[in-house]
């Protein structure tokens, strides 16, 4: 393995703490991923990406910057990555899923706040994330009050740009978001010194859509029983899609899908036919948060779908590719965000319809409703979702947790009891 210490040092990272953070990963990754039985051989590429997650990919981004391109990072699937890709820059989704950085985030944030926000600020404050350091600027958005206020603090440590996301889907909301997309286009053009042309934007829209489509292809294989890939592996790929080079990611994921589709035709599965199938719905699971999947899959079930921003909410909604006029393209981009059923909207009945449709499509036996601690929108929305699922005769288990392992025992008991219940 190449030594990246010089690169990390030049990026101003805390080498000692970063070593400590990375030292935990190989053992956990080995236990959770590499040791899985009947694993598709094409997972080798993603194991490699994971082993180089703070190395080779960061080096590529630095090389890209040497060529005058920009690296722009975000935390949310609403941020129009097409505009970044149209300038030849890289759009990265940042790390926010490790308990290790939570106490560091708590130096500037209250304890009673979503662990995702605390983890992400902790990564920056602790000098633990090379992607943060390599980013020319970070794009925040107003999906929740916690994030909205945290950007003000993050702005003291890193250039931060905030997009205002509407909370409803009326005409004035659509207008607001369209204006925000225009403003973001200007911001990207200013920062990169590149004009976004309709031709470039058309290519970028297609590229971003292709990345979403390959994830849809991957998830389509999970609709089969036996399921050809574990939930952990599938989610890992979704997590890595936010980091990896898009073209290479599409190629490698397609290769994996070829293998998976062959397994499906032969009736081979990562878990035996008839294994209880679980759909997870709720808050995102950013890298490296694998806890809930591991608990479920080590209790004799398999996760077949994630209705979350590190799942179907990211890729099910595409941008209309047929437009060639810049104004129409920007309108198409802005419409995508309003079609994503995030709990930040009120009302948000589309999410309930999505869950019920996906339970059927993915042949799920039960739903696990996962929300991060202190996530108000998703915790409150549970009431409506539970009611609708109950009416549809779909069993649901609610889990609330953070990134630490202290509650793993209790969570496992609940998951096992839920599986005993739905059998």
């Amino acid at each position: 393995m190449t030594d990246y210490r010089k690169m990390w040092q030049d990026l101003g990272m805390d080498l000692e703490k970063h070593d400590e953070l990375l030292s935990i990963i190989p053992e956990v990754y080995g236990e959770l991923f590499v040791n899985q039985e009947k694993r598709p051989s094409s997972m080798e590429y993603f194991d490699f990406v994971m082993s180089e997650v703070h190395g080779l990919r960061v080096k590529e981004l630095l090389d890209l910057q040497d060529k005058g391109k920009k690296v722009i990072s975000s935390f949310c699937v609403f941020v129009p990555e097409e505009l970044i890709l149209a300038t030849g820059g890289a759009s990265i989704g940042l790390c926010a899923g490790a308990h290790y950085s939570v106490p560091i985030g708590e130096k500037v944030l209250p304890r009673s706040l979503c662990p995702l926000i605390k983890s992400s600020l902790g990564f920056k404050l602790g000098g633990l994330c090379p992607y943060f350091e390599v980013s020319d600027f970070v794009v925040g958005e107003t999906t929740c009050d916690g994030k909205k206020k945290a950007w003000e603090i993050l702005g003291e440590y890193h250039p931060t740009y905030v997009m205002e996301l509407p909370q409803k889907r009326g005409d004035s909301d659509k207008e607001l978001w369209l204006k925000e997309v225009y403003k973001f286009k200007e911001k990207v053009e200013d920062e990169t010194g590149t004009a976004i042309t309709p031709e470039k934007l058309a290519e970028a829209i297609k590229l971003a859509n292709r990345r979403r489509k390959v994830l849809q292809r991957l998830y389509d294989t999970r609709k089969n029983d036996p399921v050809p890939i574990s939930g952990k592996d599938a989610m890992l790929i979704t997590q890595l899609s936010f980091f990896d080079d898009p073209e290479r990611f599409i190629e490698k994921t397609n290769a994996l899908c070829d293998e998976l589709e062959e397994k499906v035709s032969k009736g081979e599965g990562a878990a035996p036919k008839g294994t209880p199938r679980i759909l997870i719905t709720g808050t995102p699971m950013p890298l490296p948060s694998w806890k809930i999947h591991h608990i479920i899959e080590s209790s004799g079930a398999v996760v077949v779908c994630e209705e979350s921003c590190t799942g179907t909410r990211y890729f099910e909604t595409l941008v209309d590719e047929t437009k060639s006029d810049l104004d129409e393209q920007l309108k198409a981009i802005s419409q995508r965000a309003l079609n994503i059923n995030c709990a930040c909207y009120t009302p948000n009945v589309g999410r309930i319809e999505d869950i019920i449709r996906q339970v059927k499509e993915y042949k799920a036996d039960g739903v696990v409703y996962y929300s991060l601690q202190f996530c108000q929108s998703y915790s409150v929305e549970y009431y409506k979702v539970e009611k609708a699922l109950e009416e549809a005769g779909i069993p649901v288990l609610r889990l609330e947790s953070d990134y630490s392992d202290e509650d793993a025992g209790q969570l496992k008991t609940r998951v096992e009891a839920f599986l005993e219940m739905i059998k």
Binding site: P395, E400, S401, Q410, T413, E416, A417, E420, M421
Partner: protein, 253 residues
């Protein structure tokens, strides 16, 4: 057919030996530091009390948080399924079971065959559990089995649900001259309120079956009934219901 159920909880380990629908023997022991040892010992003790030999036992099911540490089981089943089955043995018509154990409390909804239909468990903290009661009443210099002997009193207002903060609250109440029995009544009321909130979303018309070690307490039982506006029944030896359920499940594996 003779079966055994072993429930290794956070506070106590319980074992029940069953022949068809007859309880042959049972035992309860503190779990202590080794769930594995406690499970083995309580099983042996139950075998002795039943007057059978270990060889006659056909199936053994383990439950409770210590179930994973027992290496002689035919199957491990969660305490949620076991409590439902054990409660069903005594009160098949009651749909809702409230179980207050050492480190968690749960509300279980079961069907007419004793199978779990839905359940809720308290979040990762000791509020509304046996541990909450133990820690807070110990700061009054009392033990759990003395509570029912205290004179009736108006419950003091206990606001904190956190075990640590409730303990400080108890100390301030004592310093302010509040009678012990009022504080105890206040603590029990706070548990009853907490658990009733959990149970209210599942509660149907039938009586509620109350299980777990804490169910031995008469005052808490009465308070739960008042909060839920429902009849609350407690099976004989409520502490061994999980182990009994495990032994019943063992008959069908």
């Amino acid at each position: 057919m003779i079966t055994a159920g072993i429930d290794v909880g956070s506070t106590a380990a319980k074992a029940v030996l069953l022949r068809d629908r007859e309880i042959l023997g049972w035992a309860v022991q503190p779990t202590g530091w080794s769930p594995k040892e406690a499970g083995k010992n309580v099983f042996q003790e139950a075998v002795k009390s039943a007057g059978v030999s270990a060889g006659q036992i056909e199936k053994v099911v383990g439950t409770g948080y210590g179930r994973v540490s027992l290496d002689f089981l035919d199957k491990a089943v969660t305490e949620i399924s076991c409590h439902a089955m054990g409660a069903h043995f005594y009160y098949p018509n009651n749909e809702v079971i409230i179980d207050i154990g050492g480190q968690d409390s749960k509300v279980i909804l079961k069907n007419d065959r004793g199978k779990v239909v839905n359940f809720l468990m308290n979040d990762k903290c000791a509020a509304g559990t046996g541990r909450f009661l133990q820690v807070t009443i110990n700061s009054l210099g009392l033990e759990l089995d003395q509570l029912d002997k205290l004179p009736a009193a108006e419950p003091a207002n206990i606001n904190s649900m956190c075990t640590v903060f409730a303990e400080s609250e108890v100390i301030s109440l004592l310093a302010g001259g509040t009678a012990k029995e009022s504080i105890v009544a206040g603590l029990l009321k706070s548990i009853a309120k907490r658990v009733s909130t959990m149970a209210s979303s599942m509660h149907k018309k039938s009586d509620i079956t109350f299980t777990g070690g804490v169910a031995q307490n008469r005052l808490l039982r009465e308070m739960l009934g008042r909060e839920l506006k429902a009849g609350v029944v407690v099976p004989p030896n409520p502490q061994i219901i999980g182990a009994l359920g495990a032994a019943l499940i063992a008959q069908n594996i």
